[in-house]
Amino acid sequence: MNIRNIFLISILAFGARAQAQIHLEHRIQAGFNIGGTAPVGFPNTIRKVDSYRPEFSPSLGYELSWRPSATHKWGAAAGVKLDYKGMTVKDEVMYFHTMITMDDGSGKSEFEGAFTGKNKTTVRNAYVSFPISAIYMPNDKWRFNLGTYMAWLFSANFHGNVSDGYIRNGGSLGEKVAVSQAEFDFGTDMRRFDVGLQGGAERRVGKKLRVTGNLNWGLRPVFPSDFRGMDFPMYNIYVTLGVAYRI
């Protein structure tokens, strides 16, 4: 028996001993994200929201939770999730400042102006998220969690159009140019990394099944600070509604 085997055995033994005491739970989580990629506090240039619709935004993940013992109320959890976050909003804006920069390799072109008219924006971003939570289980039925998450964007969609209005070249004093419809696509400008707070509640509805609701509040603007397409920061604010299944 060499040193390596001894080492392995002791790890296993320790593992078995630990298993006897602590309570680990493996869970599959599935749900849908409903919410918005939006400013916190609307700027006064947004005059009216004509319609809002969540995009098809599934969330699927695995979570491991840990408690010192099966009867212990407090614990911790960590997970990995595939998160789609999306929405389509139609709104009306007034004197909305924007700057569009495009670079096709051969040169940069830029337009800055103030738009008044209608806007339609569709967001559908896919993230790999890593939530970490403190958990509290006051009884067998309920479970609460609060923590943070980090998320990496791997597929970005942020596009839409402006229509039925006019844009002023340079700003509100610039010359007016009528716009019937113009498309925009800011997908490639988005930040690849998001971090935020998350917390929620669950209620047991079956032996292994729980319904869940979890709020995910991004703390990092989804566009970098030098992005001028919109002159206010926007955050990912989504609620995940779904189920958790213990495996």
């Binding site: 006064n44 007034m94 569009i100 096709d104 337009f111 509100s172 140019v177 498309e183």
Partner: protein, 356 residues
Amino acid sequence: MTHISPYVLLRSVAAISAFALLQACIKPEPPNPEADIETFTVPDSLLTGDIFIDQSNRKILLYLEPEAFESGIAPRITLSAGATVSPASGDSIHFTKEVVYTVSSASGENRKQYTVEVVSIGEWKWSFEKWLVQDVDNYQYPVESEGEQVWSSGNPGVALSGVPKQPSGYPLRSTDDSKDGTHAAELVTLKGTTLSGIVGIKLFAGSLFLGNFDINSAFLEPLKATQFGQPFAGKATRFTGHYKYTPGATYQDKAGNPVPGYTDSCAIYAVLYTGRTRLDATNIHTSDRIVAVAQLPDGSGRGNWTHFNIPFNYIPGRKSERDMMMAIVASSSKDGDQYRGAIGSRLVIDSLAIIQ
């Protein structure tokens, strides 16, 4: 009772609450920061041509009968909502000194000044010696020796597409390569920008024309943005001038694909038509108001300065009227209004004249 799945119910409730939350977030409307003179009206009988408000250069261009110029006018003015103007709408103005209108926005923070310019062409002869640079977008435009603006181009429209803000970034600019005096007008067909590509514009032909550019139509109806013509009196007989032309290497179609075996050509023409309202690129060749045309017959390449002297061809059956307009139009790519041509096509024009 139909069964509604709890998930669907929950999702609807969440969506409705999110929507309600969004509505609740709407703040009071911002005060209007705009300070435009939107319309400037005097009785038609005082005019030789329709008034044009040049929003890019903040000028009100007036084409007045001599009596109106002598006695002054009392224009009616409309403004951006809530804005105020001095002198007020309806006040008389006289042209003994420069007239400037100052507009203050409803928000109070913004002011815009419009200079009134009475435009009349004394001598129908140009050598393009004096050029100004537009304040904000830095494109050049030619003016008369007294600073009057009678020529325009597509430059104000090109300025919206994010080209470099310097004179050489625009399709019309001045050049030292002149026939007469020290400057001439240089028109170059340029490659579109990424931004203009989005709206299907892959190239900008260089243009120069008598008239105005209506920036408001630049996106929506670009062919209507080029308002051709200035008030004209008398009988036009010939259209003369000097030019040089080098077509660009590769002719391309609207989509930007090369068209083999096709060479770009330039366009230079003058059109005399009736009325006070300008024709534009949609009807400058087809309107039944056209009385006479003088057109360069062959727009192919000319390496050296080439003189042209073209008689006006009066269309039988069309009669001159009291109010007439004359348009002169030049383009470095004759199909440039359809966004077809060759990038790099270069037309230089100097010493144009309408012989009466």
